[in-house]
């Protein structure tokens, strides 16, 4: 039984938990063996459990392998590029790696002395689903004081899977011009920063500036994390950095697929945590997405990466038992990053606790969220996290927010930002737009929400003038995109003068005296 949390509720308000398993102790599948494990109230023996996990894995992955669904009911699996697997060292990604390797790469044909497959590359035996598989690990130790490097430990964990390429990345690569240049082939070395206020946190208007500092990537990462206002913001920022580092890397390596080891349990955590942080508009991408974003369906998808989470129907408990019974080595995630703080950490505690007593609710979270459709149109991508940008966000935020502006500069900018005064700035073309209109709601919150408690997560550093931003934050269009709704209607925003504003609400105003 679990309490509903209300101290004055009587016993009838408590939610009764079902018995741990429904029927007898025999396996529900073969009905012969005594069961070894309970999965959502159903009992399975060890012999039936392993194939069950493999079926769930294939069912979640294989419909997304071929670029086009085709007409055949069981098409031959053939991906258009290579495979990149995001590896954190955690349980989910260790299980995923083992499943992917044994299902698609272990049966590699013998090679001749040149390293080419015998019988030629086009021999039917030698045609595999993906051309190759690379495992991508993002080292996060720079973000955490006193953490130690684990890259070599991860590399050695992969030793039992021959023929896989290892791609070690570092969290600070996001701030590294040479990495960015390699990924994009773009020699643009400019880095943008955010202006910081006196408190060392981003100012409300999120004013962009060209970087004047020459911090090393590692120091830039630390300065970035230090300037974030809350533990929740730090957790989310690290997640966004890891995610985009992997996306850019997968695209760079010509991957057609990036697979991630999120289990059903971690998926439920990220869904609830995404909504709690204001990311509901991009919730569909938590299930499946394409990279780079913003291509409409039906458009030729050459060079795009499909992000798939093949363990989305397998719970953490199933992953743990599968890893144990199949002797899969789980290096474990770097110790300190497990202690995630803020909303993501609290959500994880909540969901894991819920799953213990009510094992079915976790899949209910996932199934319910899978039915959600974002309301309204997307108007491009967020400059920071590249998720869909909700149309009309600034207007909506302006309507619901009561803000005070202790910063005079912001007040001035708000008061005088009508197009008419743009002639005042002759260097208008080189001026950077404020970032706040190009961020999704979660990112605005990440940069601007204030906590009563200052984050104790980031190491105290010398205060910087500004906050370095990842290399991918670039003004994408000089012109504001004009959102067009599905029926062709144009949405144009214009600022009302105070007089117009007063007139439009005149009927509701109380007399001044």
């Amino acid at each position: 039984m679990a309490s509903c949390g209300n101290p004055i509720a009587d016993d009838s308000a408590l939610m009764l938990s079902r018995p741990r398993f429904d029927k007898g102790k025999h396996c529900v599948k073969c009905k012969l063996n005594l069961g070894n494990i309970v999965i959502r109230h159903a009992v399975y023996c060890r012999d039936c459990f392993t194939p069950l996990v493999i079926v769930k894995f294939r069912r979640a992955l294989e419909p997304h392998v071929n670029a086009n669904a085709g007409t055949s009911k069981r098409p031959k699996l053939k991906a258009s590029g290579s495979l990149v697997l995001g590896f954190s060292g955690g349980l989910g990604s260790a299980v995923l790696l083992d499943l992917v390797y044994k299902s698609y790469f272990a049966g590699r044909p013998p090679t001749d002395e040149n390293g080419d497959p015998r019988g030629g590359i086009n021999h039917p035996r030698n045609v595999s689903v993906w051309t190759s598989c690379a495992v991508c690990y993002v080292e996060v130790s720079s973000a955490i004081p006193e953490a130690h490097e684990r890259t070599e430990e991860m590399r050695s964990a992969l030793a039992s899977y021959p023929n896989l390429k290892f791609i070690p990345l570092r969290l600070e690569d996001a701030f590294d011009e040479s990495w960015w240049c390699r990924m994009t082939g773009n020699p643009d070395m400019s880095q943008l920063t955010l202006e910081l206020g006196k408190d060392g946190l981003p100012t409300e208007g999120l004013n962009l500036a060209h970087s004047s500092n020459t911090l090393s990537p590692k120091d830039a990462l630390r300065a970035f994390l230090t300037a974030l206002p809350t533990p929740t913001a730090v957790s989310r920022a690290i997640q966004v950095l890891i995610r985009l580092l992997m996306f850019f890397t997968a695209q760079f390596h010509g991957a057609s697929h990036l697979v991630l080891g999120s289990s059903l349990t971690t998926l439920a955590v990220s869904l609830v945590s995404c909504v709690a942080q204001g990311g509901g508009h991009a919730i569909r991408e938590e299930f499946q997405e394409e990279w780079p974003p913003g291509l409409s369906p039906g458009v030729e998808r050459g060079g795009s990466v499909r992000v798939v989470r093949p363990l989305r129907d397998v719970t953490m408990k199933e992953c743990a038992a599968f890893a144990w019974w199949n002797g899969i080595r789980v290096p474990g995630r770097p110790r300190l990053t497990r202690v995630i703080t803020g909303i993501p950490g609290l959500t994880k505690d909540f969901v894991v606790r819920l799953e213990k007593d009510y094992p079915s609710t976790v899949s209910t979270i996932a199934r319910t969220c899978a039915k959600l459709e974002p309301k309204g149109t997307s108007v491009g991508e967020c400059w920071f996290c590249y998720s869909h940008l909700q149309g009309g966000l600034a207007d909506w935020k302006a309507r619901i927010s009561i803000r005070s502006h202790p910063n005079l500069k912001v007040v001035e900018r708000l008061a005088s930002s009508s197009p008419a005064d743009s002639s005042v700035h002759p260097d208008q073309t080189s001026r950077l737009p404020p970032l706040d209109t190009h961020l999704c709601y979660s990112c605005i919150t990440m940069f601007t929400s204030r906590s009563s408690r200052k984050s104790s997560f980031a190491p105290p550093l010398i205060h910087h003038q500004d906050m370095p931003l990842p290399r991918w934050v670039k003004p994408q269009d000089a012109e504001e995109a004009i959102p067009v709704s599905k029926n062709g209607e144009l949405w144009v925003r214009s600022r009302q003068s105070e007089k117009e504003c007063r007139e439009s609400i005149a009927d509701f105003l109380l007399p001044d005296n």
Partner: protein, 145 residues
């Protein structure tokens, strides 16, 4: 007084809380205090386990097992069960962060327990009475994707 020897194994990173040692062989009396008291001199939640510097509690070959029932007078006894074993592990072998192992009288949510290769949910969880030679595995699932 008879003793029971049980093999305890940690997986999924939980071994890090137990001095990074995965396999432990533990001998305990067949009857233990019903309130899970570990030893009069070492109350539960003790910050400094008596045997912190040694690997394991003494095996039968190393000498007599201290009888936890001795000196407890009218204290109620119960057959050795998994719940007592967990309290014992926490008091004697855990080296850091007890909250990552136990939650009240049971394991923390997110820890999978296998008794002789079978989910402890099928075996009565903490009330399972341990027999000599049983193998009990604690696996953490909390190490993310």
């Amino acid at each position: 007084m008879s003793t029971i020897t049980v093999k305890v194994e940690f997986g999924g990173g939980l071994e890090l809380l137990f001095g990074n040692k995965r396999v432990h062989s533990i001998s305990l009396p067949s009857f233990v205090p019903a309130d899970n008291t570990i030893a009069p001199s070492s109350p539960p939640n003790s910050e400094t386990p008596l045997l912190a510097e040694s690997d394991d509690p003494p095996l039968p070959a190393n000498g007599p097992i201290p009888d936890p029932m001795k000196g407890l007078g009218e204290m109620k006894a119960k057959p050795l069960d998994v719940q007592y074993l967990m309290h014992y592990l926490r008091s004697r072998l855990l080296t850091e962060r007890p909250e990552l192992f136990m939650d009240g009288d049971t394991v923390r949510p997110g820890v999978l327990v296998l008794i002789n290769d079978t989910d402890w949910e099928l075996e009565g969880e903490g009330t399972y009475e341990i027999s000599d030679g049983d193998e009990i595995v604690f696996i953490s699932t909390l190490h993310g994707g």
